[in-house]
Symmetry: C2
Subunit: 503 residues, 2 copies
């Protein structure tokens, strides 16, 4: 194990998770590694949670702000939430225990565009960063760090923190060396320069993370797997949406709006996105690339098929099966997978330049094309906006996908007015449900409404939606750009809260 820490200075800082956690004080802002359940610290958070519990039992306050790349795992967010040790969380969470505390009003949650999170920290919008806990794969003789299964905001955390705790996880393959591209060219305005990245797999940085050894207060050795959530099998709805989407891409190629090898793919996390990737294995497009946030199993399939020549992401997000597959042939993926900082994987400049095809899930869309990605019935947070805004706004072409109903048909994903707006009508190109696909490009809001209802709404909800639009059009003859009945706009959500069904 110690062969993973060959820097003499840092080898001398090896200690226990408990001792490392003692460097974290109540009220601290704590940065951690981790993105989509990959590359998060495995030991120190548990030790910290234990210290918090003990303090609370003594009657002392012990809460910290927790900043990450994106989602972590039960061993981080779950444990710290259970210990009631979090005061504020940013920029993303998907842990159910923590979600409940956010929705109970116990924890402040700042949901942010992931491309913004690092720079807002540098801009001083979040205050100082006291201590960070970053998982790495190895520490080289010169103190350079081989990153682990995600990069996320690690570069920023290591640069900005007062104190650094490193976790060296020997479960992560030593062969990770060379899979990363950490860009050290970011600056603060007015000193910023163009990011000279013009193709998916281009390297513009270093394979290593840097850290000032003087700031490293502890090094902890771990040997524990990432979260690696199993994927659900692809269901009929997902397959239907994937087919619609792939057919639409085919159409776009046929009419000359897209090259036969498409443009770099981005796909959000989840089963639908995964099904789309599966659909692309059977399709004729090649050679493709993916410029995305998370490398899920579907992208591994596409890589293995030879149709995808490379994936740029900021994190792995594989199932246990996917991990095995990747580990077994890791050397064959080198040069075909690159992990970057999330400020680069999601950077508006790069996403727009490359002309990414963005495919993201949604909770609901409204008839005028506004999309809700984050809130359940307007008030409760689900996860967060993540990178969906970074990609959708700057994409060449974007898709938002969801089954047309949820809760066994009680909820329509197409509503008169979304109960929270994450992507405005200006930013949404194509909506997809298992019912069909609505291409909203170049349409006025009123024309969009007809198309969304006809193509995407579930048959059970089509007539009520048409009725809403018809009555909205009749109600205010001189307000026909986006006709709404403001006293009914949220009545579907209200009905669901009152009766358990929107119908």
């Amino acid at each position: 194990m110690m062969r993973r820490i060959v820097c003499p200075t840092l080898a001398g800082r090896v200690t226990s998770a408990d001792e490392a956690a003692a460097h974290i004080r109540p009220g601290d802002s704590v940065g951690i590694s981790g993105f989509t359940g990959a590359g998060y610290p495995k030991a120190v958070p548990a030790a910290l949670a234990e210290r918090m519990r003990t303090a609370h039992e003594r009657g002392d306050e012990f809460r910290v702000q927790l900043w990450s790349g994106a989602s972590t795992a039960p061993e981080v967010d779950g444990l710290l939430a259970s210990a009631h040790g979090l005061s504020k969380r940013l920029p993303y969470n998907s842990d159910p225990t923590l979600r409940a505390l956010i929705n109970d009003g116990e924890v402040e949650y700042v949901d942010a565009h992931l491309s913004h999170s690092a720079q807002h920290m540098w801009f001083g919008f979040y205050g100082p960063l006291d201590v960070v806990v970053v998982e790495v794969t190895a520490i080289l003789p010169n103190g350079l760090l081989v990153p682990s299964s995600s990069i996320g905001n690690n570069k920023t955390w290591l640069d900005r923190a007062d104190k650094v705790i490193l976790e060296v996880n020997s479960w992560q393959p030593r062969e990770f060396e060379g899979f990363h591209d950490v860009y050290y060219g970011t600056r603060l305005p007015p000193h910023r320069a163009p990011i000279q990245l013009t193709s998916t797999m281009q390297r513009i940085g270093d394979p290593y993370l840097r850290v000032d050894p003087a700031k490293v207060v502890a090094v902890v050795q771990t040997d524990a797997p990432d979260r690696n959530t199993p994927l659900k099998p692809v269901d009929d709805n997902s397959r239907a949406m994937a087919d619609l989407l792939v057919d639409f891409l085919r159409h776009e190629v046929r009419v000359g709006r897209m090259p036969p090898s498409l443009l770099p793919l981005q796909s959000g996390v989840g089963n639908v996105a995964n099904a789309v990737m599966a659909g692309l294995v059977e399709a004729e497009f090649e050679p493709m690339t993916a410029y995305t946030e998370v490398l899920q199993d579907g992208l591994l399939d596409l890589l293995d098929s030879g149709k995808l020549t490379g994936v740029s992401a900021t994190s792995f997000g594989l199932s246990p099966d996917g991990v095995r597959r990747f580990m077994d042939a890791i050397d064959s993926y080198k040069g075909r997978i690159l992990l970057r900082s999330e400020e680069i994987s999601n950077h508006p400049e790069v996403v727009r330049r490359l002309g990414v095809i963005a495919i993201n899930g949604m909770i609901e869309a409204d008839i005028y094309g506004n999309v809700n990605s984050t809130h359940v019935m307007g008030s409760a947070i689900m996860n967060g906006i993540g990178g969906s805004g970074d990609f959708a706004r700057n994409a060449f072409l974007n898709f938002f996908v969801s089954p047309s109903t949820a809760k066994a048909g009680a909820i329509s994903s197409i509503v008169p007015f979304v109960s929270h707006v994450d992507h405005t009508e200006h930013d949404v190109h194509v909506l997809v449900t298992e019912q069909g696909l609505a291409d909203l490009r170049g349409l006025s809001p009123s024309a969009r409404a007809d198309r969304v209802i006809d193509h995407c709404a579930h048959p059970d909800f089509r007539e009520p939606l048409r009725d809403y639009v018809a009555r909205a059009r009749a109600a205010r003859p001189h307000a026909q750009h986006t006709p709404h009945l403001l006293d009914e706009a949220f009545s579907w959500h209200r009905r669901y809260l009152d009766t358990g069904s929107m119908a």
Copy 2:
């Protein structure tokens, strides 16, 4: 006058506006120059409107799609709307006659981010562009075009159109040559390259627009002024908001979050923005620059004060006084004013790199920080999103400003839920009304609500807003991230529609 057209080929195409307009057929997509009432064609639209009227009197259909840079003037949108000659309009309109037809449902209006409009045309999202009418200042011997008082989407229109009509306006000063920087480096993905612009006044293009002479079907000579709307005098509310904003910038410099010369300024069109610029004349920040869309009088004042060293914009938007001032000393402004294409003036890549300070007006904001820039009471369009999303999302720091009430106090600009979302909670940093300033950076939605109500809402509406939040918090204890009462969220707007007052 003919000295303005020294290219022999194009001098041979000089004709009347009527004959030029005959090249425009029913059903055409027509691109026109023009941005904020500057640089729009002065003669052909009127001739076209006349042809439309005549056709309609004969019982023939004659409508076209109209694509522009942004807003034009009564002589374009107003006349074509009065002639009922428009079927679709994009990407921006502020003409009252056309607005009424959009809100009557007669004209389809596609409100778009201005940085998207050119590329969506190139991507093929809007279909083919049949004919364009572009105002220029002069035509050089080699056929190069000296642009006029705005650039907007002119480069794209000239490149993409099947047929080109040029208007050469001798009212525009011949000295405009050298005031423009037209970037010809844009490409379609996957062939895009970084835009190598790293400072406000850097030239990355040519001072001229290019056109294939073979496409030029007519050249029309005009001698007519731009719209040049007079500014209203700065009122107390505007001055109060400007003072708050300038004080806040002072605070940001003091705490080290911004350089003493600030960062490039962007200000939306209107009196508040103008008042802010006036406020900066008295402030200590220098040397400043502005990387913005429209050069209003306030920026001229700042240039004249010496505190602003340069303005990059895509259009002039001066008052008659401002025009006189500019014209009288035009040579002294050369090198201190640059007009660019709107895809560059508003480009996310450049806006984010330069770290722009974005200041834009709004119609209303809600307690959680969502902003409505476009719709009145949810359904009727006012103008459009323009560049506000391009700048706000990518800004170093953004402000949305509005008086706290409208219609003599009947309308609160701070509401429980905005009736249309143009800028989501993720994209809004600071709200400013004459009551105060709410810095929302790093706050959870619930914390934002308290701050917005305390700092920005008018005293008459503070208690009702607090009451809304208190009852929303009580209603769903486990939905506390963004507490809402969905059956009341739009009740303020509804009450205004029913009674003429939100109170």
